[in-house]
Structures are given as C-alpha cells and as structure tokens.
C-alpha cells in the first residue's frame, strides 16, 4: 500500500512537470497578448510529429531533436502571429478566439492529410526502460522529460527576469501602453512571445514523443488541461503555471488511485472550479 502511494506520488510529479511546461507556453502568450491560443494542443502535436520525423527520417533521437522542435515551433508560432493573429488583434476579442480555434482545426486536419490518422511511437529512443528504486518503478524517459521540463521552465523564468528582452516582455505584460511609451517595440515583443510560447510547447512535444504515442488528435486533452492549469495558476503567471501543473498531476494521479479513475479528470476540473471560486485570480495571479 505504502509502496504504491510512493509510486503514485512519483508518477504525479512526472506527468505534472510536463503539464507545467505545456502550460507555461500558453500562459506566456496569454500574459503578453491577452490571446487565448486554442491551437496550443495542436502545436504540441506538431512538435511531437517533428520529433517523430527527425527520428524516422534523419535517425535523430528525440533528445537531440529538442532544439529542432523548439526552432520549428518558434517559427510556426511567430509566423502564425505575424500573418494571422496580428490581423485580428485590432478586431473584437471574439475574433481572436475564433481565429485560434480555426488554426487548431486546420492543423489537426492538415496532420491527418499529411501523415494519416495512424498512431506512431518512437520505437527505440536512446532513453528507455525503467529504474527500480526500491519498490518504485521509475520510467527513464519520463524522468528525463520531467527533469528537462523543470530545467526549461527555470530557464524561461531566468530569461524573463534577467535579460533585456525578457524584461521587455514582462513590461508589455504589465502595461502595454506604458511599455510602448518607453520605446519598446510591442509588435516585435508580441511575435517574440508567441514564438517563445510555441517553442516551449515544441520542447514539451519532443519530451513527450520519447514515451507517448503520436497521432493528429493527441493535443486535445493536453490542451484542455493546460487551459485549466493556466487559469488555476493565474493567467500570465509562469510560477503559477508551474505550481498548478504539479498540483493537477497530483490531483489526477492520486485522485484516480484513491478515489476512482473514472472521475480523475472530473476531479481536476473540480479543483479548478473550487480554486476560482475562492481565488478568482488564480493561485499566483494578481
């Protein structure tokens, strides 16, 4: 019993940290632009497919295709911002919502068309197998993905707090007009943040591709959960998204283990509802 408890806590942390990385990309985009990117889950799917094709065509392990995924998703995100989102930024809020929704449907169906709806797995990633630590079975790819997610999240936070560009992003997030008056090119910051947010989900995709199956609709539930995490952590808060990601991982896994697996996602959304009821701004929101 105690063994399984420890195992379940470990599992929660493993999935929670990956959730966190996916959600950080989303919260960054929201924080800077007030745009809810409904295509976020599909960006994750594209990241996973890029990693898969790097492996299949170029014999490149997912571990090494991380920079490729990050770069490709950065370009995709920045491009979609430049050519689509920025056009509707001046329009009503609903238009922005609908346009990212459209991008989401487009990407999922494009993936079906290009790569068929089949399921793929990266057969022999460099990292595979499990470590037996006492009674706990620790999946090596999941562990590396989890540690990687924490490292990348920390790096993003450092980038935002310590570099000029990072500070500019935070400034726009705080007050767009004031930042513009201070000479910050907000349009440039917008596409940069959109690209950066997308690159983060691309990295998460590369990590996930080491152990998760890949198919055109894979982003669905990940996307939904990351919305929940962003709201729970406080819209725009990187730290909040990280804590909320881990929290959701714990609720999902332990709730499923002790309560009933059929309701584990219901529990996740229940925790979210209770939090916004008590603290509408989210855990770390202001």
């Amino acid at each position: 019993m105690a063994d399984q408890l420890l195992q379940q806590v470990v599992n929660s942390l493993l999935i929670g940290s990956v959730y966190a990385l996916v959600a950080i990309g989303l919260t960054l985009i929201w924080g800077v632009m007030n745009v809810l990117n409904f295509a976020h889950g599909d960006f994750l799917m594209i990241g996973m497919f890029i990693s898969f094709w790097c492996y299949t065509l170029l014999k490149m392990d997912p571990l090494f295709s991380i920079p490729v995924c990050a770069a490709a998703l950065f370009l995709l995100g920045a491009g979609i911002y430049r050519f689509i989102i920025s056009k509707v930024m001046k329009g009503p809020g609903l238009a922005q919502l609908v346009v990212t929704f459209g991008v989401s449907i487009f990407l999922a169906n494009l993936a079906v068309m290009l790569w068929t709806p089949d399921f793929r797995l990266i057969e022999k990633p460099l990292l595979s197998g499990t470590w037996s630590l006492g009674s706990v079975q620790l999946s090596i790819p999941k562990f590396v993905a989890s540690v990687g997610s924490v490292v990348v999240s920390a790096a993003v936070l450092l980038f935002l707090k310590k570099t000029r560009t990072g500070k500019a992003i935070l400034a726009v997030e705080m007050n767009r007009d004031a930042a513009q008056l201070m000479g910050i090119n907000t349009e440039k910051i917008n596409s940069l943040s959109f690209g950066l947010g997308s690159a983060l989900v691309g990295i998460a995709g590369a990590f996930l591709s080491m152990y998760y199956y890949i198919y055109p609709q894979v982003g669905g539930l990940f996307g939904l959960i990351s919305f929940c995490i962003v709201a729970l952590g406080g819209f725009g808060s990187i730290e909040g998204a990280f804590i909320a990601g881990i929290l959701i991982g714990l609720v999902q896994t332990l709730g499923g283990y002790f309560f009933d697996p059929a309701y584990k996602y219901a529990l996740v959304f229940l925790v979210y509802l209770i939090t916004v009821w008590i603290r509408p701004q989210g855990l770390m929101g202001s």
Binding site: M1, Q4, Q7, Q8, N11, I15, N109, V112, T116, P117, D118, F119, R120, L121, E123, T130, Q137, S139, K142, Y211, Y212, Y213, Y215, P216, Q217, G220, L221, F222, I225, Q252, T253, L254, G255, G256, Y257, D260, P261, A262, Y263, K264, Y265
Partner: protein, 424 residues
C-alpha cells in the same frame, strides 16, 4: 454526311468521346441504390474509421462487379432483384461523437435519400444513430458495434450481424474454464478494467456477471475515462489487486497507453484478455513486440483461411487493393453491405417495410461468410444474428493467431504470459 468538314469532325468526335461519360452516368443514376455508411472518418478514431471504410468499399466493389467468390451477390453484377442496380455508398463522418452520429444519420436519410444505413463502429454512436433511423423508418444493418444493449431495445429497423459483447465476454470465461480443464492452469481471480462509455461500461457489466456465474473472484473493478493522458493510477490499482487475469475493454488510444504503462510499472498477470483497441490495425505497428501474448476477442483472423478458402480469397483482394493485411475491423464492416444488399435484392424493392421483411427472412449459409459462423439469421425478437460467435486470438511474434476454441486453434496458447522483465 457527304459534307464532313474538319470542324464538324472535331465536334462530333468530341461529343462521341464525351458520350460514354454522359450516357451511362444518367443511366446509372436511375439504377443506383444509395446506402449510408456512418464511420468515425476524422477525430480520435480516424484510423479505425479508415479501416472500416476499406472493408465497406471492397464489399461494395464485389457486389457491383462480377467476382468468382462464394459471397452473396458476388457472381452477379449489382443487385439482381432490382435489375442489376448498383450500390452507391454515401459516406457520413461521425467524428467519433454520438451527436454527429444522429445528425449524420438524419442528413443521409433526408438529403441523400438512402434506403438503408450501415456503421457506425462505436456503440455509443450506433445507439443514437439507430434511434434516429428508427424514427425515420430506415433499415439499419450493423456489423461492427458490439454493445449488447443495441439489440435489446426492441427496435424494428435495426439488425446486427456481428456478435455482441455479452457473447464475447461469455467466450472469455468459457476460455478460462477450458484452460483450467484442458491445460491444467489455475485461475482464481480476475480484474475488470473498462473505459466508461457505452461500449466499455456494458462489457464491464457482462464481465462482472459472468465472473460471478463462473466462480471467479473479482479483485478489482476499474472504470476509467477514455483518451487519458496518463493511466498510472489505474495500473497502480491493478498492481495492488494483483489478479490472475486482466479483462480489459478499451479503444485504441488507451490500449496503447495501458500496454506501455503495464510494461513500465511491471504489471504481470498470468493472462490478459482484451477487446477492441488491441486488435485495431494501428495497435501492433505502434506497440510492436510489447503487444505479444495479449489475447484479444475477434470475429476474424487471417489464419481462418486454412479452414475457409473464402477468407483467403477476400484477404488477397483486400491486400491487392490497399497494400495492407485485412484487419478485424475491416472484416467486420465488410459483411453489412452484403446482408443489406442481399435483402434488398430479395425484397425486389427499396421500400423500407419490404427491406425489413426481407432482412427478417435473411438466411445466409455459413460458407458465404468470412467468419467461423454457421451463417446469418436474425432472432425474430432482438434481430441479433443468432449464429454470431467469437474466437480468441493471441498476439504471438506480432501476429494475431487463433488460440480458442481449442479445436479450431492455429497456435497453442501461451499461458501464463512471461513477466516483462524476462522478455528480451
């Protein structure tokens, strides 16, 4: 014709060249019978839907063309009872969701005027779609959805060719008894694991019922949300319960994730008896050798060809057309067009009441089906095919081999299955 100029020649030639396109088409339109096919062509189950579609397409080709096969309507062109009218399929995409199942069923009936419907693979979708067709009074022949409740509703227009999960669940327990009696294996406890939509939850119910009837102790009863991102808590519960046998009803996404998680967390029951997702064509290519030793319920296996040449002939046609092996899903969906078209042919009419009456009188002998059944005849009350039975196949060396009933087995069952750690 004495004045044949070059220009007239060109015009005339052009018209002549076009005529085969125009004339037979108008002709064919008058003699085309439309049926609607509901499948998840996009969405989470798109890979499954594609497979169903292939099965149906091949069936319609055989019905419309002339093939030397011992299948209903194969040796004649089109539907003989209607002067060789051709069958045309109107495809409807359910996206795997019940709400679309109903809307699409209504669309093909009211807009395309189909005379019958087949599909829709998922039980939940089939359930609402067949309620719509019942209201619209259109015959529905299902050969791929397997929830027992579908034929327990007393619908007049709904017929099912394939076995339902009650039959499959029963088979699994009969297999366990046979295993104990003939192979001297001891089985005492089972764990029941199922996804929580129409399909899984009904299998769960049947499993629990038969476990009690056959005297096996249920040490875990776990339902879960399908398309999960992570199933470690479910597998944690299974490890704690430590059953002799796992009974799992799942669609493909969860089947892949569970198999990976079983391996990762080291869940080692003596046997795994599974349904649906584990036999979809996407499963083995994704999971490869980790799928070995899992036992799946099936209505079809390529090794049936040894005893039934028809299976081999159809499987060859399939492979020639699509370049892949015929899967269980394709094989299941394959039969519905034949049953529907054969009834239409006997009815000599596209009137719904006449087709229903003909379907009730269906009697297709066992040598004209590609499954190990005694034939197709519908129960007068439930309209379920009374001859539909299942088999169990085991994945051995990444191939599905029939292992039960023992007398028609193509391979010996591997039991207990080797622990994950001892596999290469």
């Amino acid at each position: 014709m004495g004045n044949l100029t070059r220009r007239n020649f060109v015009i005339g030639g052009g018209a002549l060249a076009l005529s085969p396109l125009i004339v037979p088409r108008a002709f064919a339109q008058a003699k085309t019978i439309k049926i609607g096919a509901l499948y998840p062509l996009t969405g989470n189950l798109a890979s499954t839907g594609l497979d169903n579609r292939r099965g149906v397409e091949l069936a319609v080709e055989i019905i419309n063309g002339k093939y030397d096969l011992n299948l209903p309507l194969a040796r004649t062109e089109g539907i003989p009872g209607l002067g060789g009218a051709k069958l045309e399929v109107v495809w409807a995409d359910t996206k795997g969701e019940p709400k679309n199942g109903q809307a699409e069923a209504e669309r093909v009936v009211t807009q395309d005027h189909v005379v019958g419907i087949i599909g829709a693979y998922q039980s939940s979708v089939t359930k609402v779609a067949s309620q719509a067709t019942e209201r619209l009074k259109v015959p529905y022949v299902c050969s791929d959805a397997s929830s027992p409740t579908l034929t327990e509703r007393g619908l007049k227009y709904f017929f099912r060719v394939s076995p339902h999960d009650g039959i499959f669940a029963h088979d699994q327990f009969r297999f366990l008894k046979d295993l104990e009696a003939q192979k001297k294996q001891k089985v005492q406890t089972v764990a029941v694991l199922y996804e929580n939509t129409e399909f899984g939850s009904n299998v769960g119910k049947e499993d629990l019922r038969y476990a009690q009837e056959y005297g096996y102790k249920v040490v875990a009863d776990i339902s879960y949300t399908n398309n999960a991102t992570d199933v470690t808590s479910e597998v944690g519960r299974l490890i704690k319960a430590s059953p002799d046998v796992l009974l799992h009803a799942s669609y493909i996404t969860d089947a892949i994730l569970f198999t990976k998680t079983f391996k990762e967390m080291g869940f080692n029951p003596k046997g795994m008896l599974t349904m649906a997702g584990y036999i979809e064509p996407g499963y083995l290519p994704a999971i490869k050798a980790d799928g070995n030793f899992i036992i799946v319920r099936s209505t079809f296996a390529l090794d049936l060809a040894k005893k039934k040449p028809l299976v081999g002939q159809v499987a060859d046609l399939f492979k020639k057309k699509y370049g892949i092996e015929m899967s269980e899903n394709a094989a299941r969906s394959f039969m519905a067009p034949f049953v529907l078209a054969e009834a239409i042919s006997r009815a000599k009419s596209t009137d719904a009441e006449a087709i229903v009456k003909a379907l009730q009188g269906t009697n297709i002998p066992g040598d004209q089906v590609i499954y190990p059944w005694k034939g197709i005849q519908f129960d007068p009350k439930t309209q379920q095919n009374v001859h539909a039975t299942g088999t169990l196949v085991q994945i051995q060396d990444q191939k599905y081999l029939t292992v039960w009933p023992f007398e028609s087995a193509a391979a010996d069952v591997v039991w207990p299955l080797p622990a994950w750690k001892s596999r290469k």
